[in-house]
C-alpha cells in the first residue's frame, strides 16, 4: 500500500530581511490533492521548493514518511516528482535520451510501457526521437511531466502545472491529476482556479505573512 505523508511544523522562510511566510503547520497524506495559492511573489514556489527539499526553511521542520518510515533528505528524490517553469531538461539530448540518462542516474530500469503511455498522453510519441532544442515551450512543459512521473513517485509537486500548455495539454494534466490524486500525494502551486478546483484543501500563503 502506498502510504505517503508529510508534516510541516511552524515552517517559516525569510529572504534577507523580507519575510515570505511564517509558521506554516500542516499535514498532508496520500490520496489527496492539495493546493497552494497566493498572488505573484507570495511564496508559492518557495513553499513548494521547501517541501521538495530543494531549499531549506529559515525555521521549522518538514518530515516525510513513507509507510511510516522516515525518508532522509538525501533519498527524497527517489519518492518525488517535480514540475515547474524553472525546471529545464537537457536541450542537446532527445526526449528518449533524456529519460534514458535520468533512469540510469536514478539507478532504475526504464519502464517502457509507462513511458510510452506518458508520451501518448502528452501527445509526444512522434517527437520522442527529436532533440529538445527543437521543442516549443509547451512541448517542453509536457516533457517535464514525463520526467516527473518516469520513476513512479509517491509525492508529486506541480508548480504552475499548466503554464505554456494549450487546451489539449491542460486536459492531459487534469486527467493525470485525477489518476495520480487517487494513489499518491499531489501538491499543486497555482493561481489558476481550474487547477485548484482539483484540490481537496487549498493553503493560501498570503495568510501566513503576518509578523
Amino acid at each position: 500500500m502506498n502510504n505517503y505523508s508529510l508534516t510541516l511544523e511552524s515552517v517559516s522562510k525569510i529572504f534577507g530581511r523580507r519575510l515570505v511566510f511564517k509558521d506554516i503547520s500542516l499535514q498532508m497524506s496520500t490520496g489527496n490533492v492539495y493546493g497552494i495559492s497566493g498572488c505573484n511573489g507570495s511564496g508559492k514556489s518557495t513553499l513548494a521548493k521547501i517541501i521538495a527539499g530543494l531549499i531549506s526553511p529559515s525555521s521549522g521542520k518538514i518530515t516525510h514518511l513513507y509507510n511510516d518510515k522516515k525518508i532522509e533528505p538525501e533519498n527524497l528524490h527517489d519518492y518525488l516528482g517535480f514540475v515547474s517553469p524553472y525546471l529545464f531538461l537537457y536541450d542537446e539530448f532527445t526526449a528518449e535520451e533524456n529519460l534514458y540518462h535520468f533512469a540510469k542516474i536514478r539507478g532504475i530500469k526504464i519502464n517502457n510501457t509507462k513511458v510510452d503511455n506518458l508520451f501518448e498522453l502528452f501527445n509526444l510519441s512522434d517527437r520522442k526521437k527529436d532533440i529538445l532544442k527543437g521543442y516549443s515551450s509547451g512541448m517542453k512543459q509536457r516533457m517535464k511531466f514525463i520526467f516527473a512521473l518516469q520513476h513512479s513517485p509517491q509525492l508529486l509537486i506541480f508548480d504552475e502545472p499548466t503554464s505554456n500548455l494549450d487546451n489539449a495539454g491542460k486536459e492531459a494534466v487534469y486527467k493525470l491529476l485525477e489518476e495520480e490524486g487517487k494513489n499518491n500525494l499531489v501538491i499543486i502551486a497555482s493561481n489558476e482556479e481550474v487547477d485548484l478546483s482539483f484540490c481537496s484543501n487549498v493553503i493560501d500563503v498570503e495568510k501566513f505573512k503576518i509578523v
Partner: protein, 219 residues
C-alpha cells in the same frame, strides 16, 4: 554506478556541445605557442621548462574545468540534477568527468611539451609519473569543488582562477619540486616526503570536498 551514469551523461553532452574540450584544446595550443614565440631561438634552462609545464597545466585547468558545474547552472539544469540524484552521486560523477578531462589534457600538454622543448628532459620517469598521476588527482578534486562553489556566483570567470590559486598553490609547488627531482634523476625513495605531501593533499581535499559539497549544493 549512478555516478558513472552521470559521468556518461556529461561525456555525451560534452561530445555534442564541445563546451570544455574546445576551450581546453585552444588554450593549450595558444599558451604553448606564446611560450615558443617568446623564447624564440634562445635556449632556456631545464628547470624553467619544468616550471612552465605546470604553469600551462594550471591555466589550462582554469579555462576548462569549471564547466562541470557552471554549464549546469547556465543551462538551468542544476535543479534537474537535484531531483534525480543524491549530492554525493553528483559530486562523484562530476569528479570522474573532471578526472578524465584533466588526464587527457595533461597527457596532451606533456607530449606536446616534450616534442617542442628540447631542454625538457625527464631522467627519472617513474618519479615524474607518480607526481603526474597524484598531481592530476589533486587538480581534478580541487577544481571540481571550486567549480561547485563558483557556479553560484555572478562573476564566475574571474572568481575561478582567483579562488583556485591559493588552494592549488601547495600542490603546484610540490609538483614543481618533484619535476625538478625527476629532471635531476632522483629516485622515488629520495623524494618520498614530497610524494607523501601530494598523497595527503589529495586525501584531505577529497574528504573536505565530500563533506562540504552537501552545503554548497543546497540553497
Amino acid at each position: 554506478m549512478k555516478a558513472y551514469s552521470l559521468f556518461r551523461k556529461d561525456w555525451q553532452s560534452e561530445l555534442r556541445t564541445r563546451y570544455a574540450i574546445n576551450a581546453l584544446a585552444m588554450f593549450i595550443l595558444v599558451t604553448i605557442s606564446v611560450i615558443l614565440f617568446s623564447i624564440g631561438t634562445e635556449k632556456i634552462s631545464e628547470y624553467l621548462t619544468g616550471g612552465l609545464l605546470w604553469v600551462v597545466i594550471f591555466f589550462s585547468a582554469m579555462s576548462g574545468l569549471s564547466r562541470a558545474f557552471v554549464s549546469e547552472e547556465e543551462r538551468g539544469t542544476t535543479l534537474t540534477l537535484q531531483l534525480i540524484a543524491a549530492p554525493s552521486t553528483i559530486f562523484s560523477g562530476k569528479l570522474l568527468f573532471n578526472l578524465i578531462l584533466v588526464f587527457l589534457m595533461n597527457i596532451a600538454i606533456t607530449i606536446l611539451y616534450s616534442a617542442l622543448f628540447e631542454s625538457f628532459v625527464i631522467k627519472s620517469f617513474d618519479l615524474f609519473l607518480i607526481a603526474f598521476v597524484l598531481g592530476n588527482f589533486g587538480i581534478a578534486i580541487s577544481s571540481t569543488i571550486i567549480a561547485a562553489i563558483i557556479s553560484k556566483a555572478s562573476s564566475k570567470g574571474t572568481l575561478y582562477p582567483v579562488l583556485s590559486f591559493p588552494i592549488l598553490l601547495p600542490l603546484i609547488l610540490t609538483l614543481l619540486e618533484l619535476t625538478k627531482f625527476a629532471m635531476d634523476g632522483n629516485s622515488v625513495g629520495d623524494s618520498w616526503v614530497e610524494i607523501a605531501v601530494l598523497v595527503c593533499y589529495d586525501v584531505i581535499m577529497l574528504t573536505a570536498s565530500y563533506l562540504l559539497f552537501d552545503f554548497i549544493w543546497k540553497d
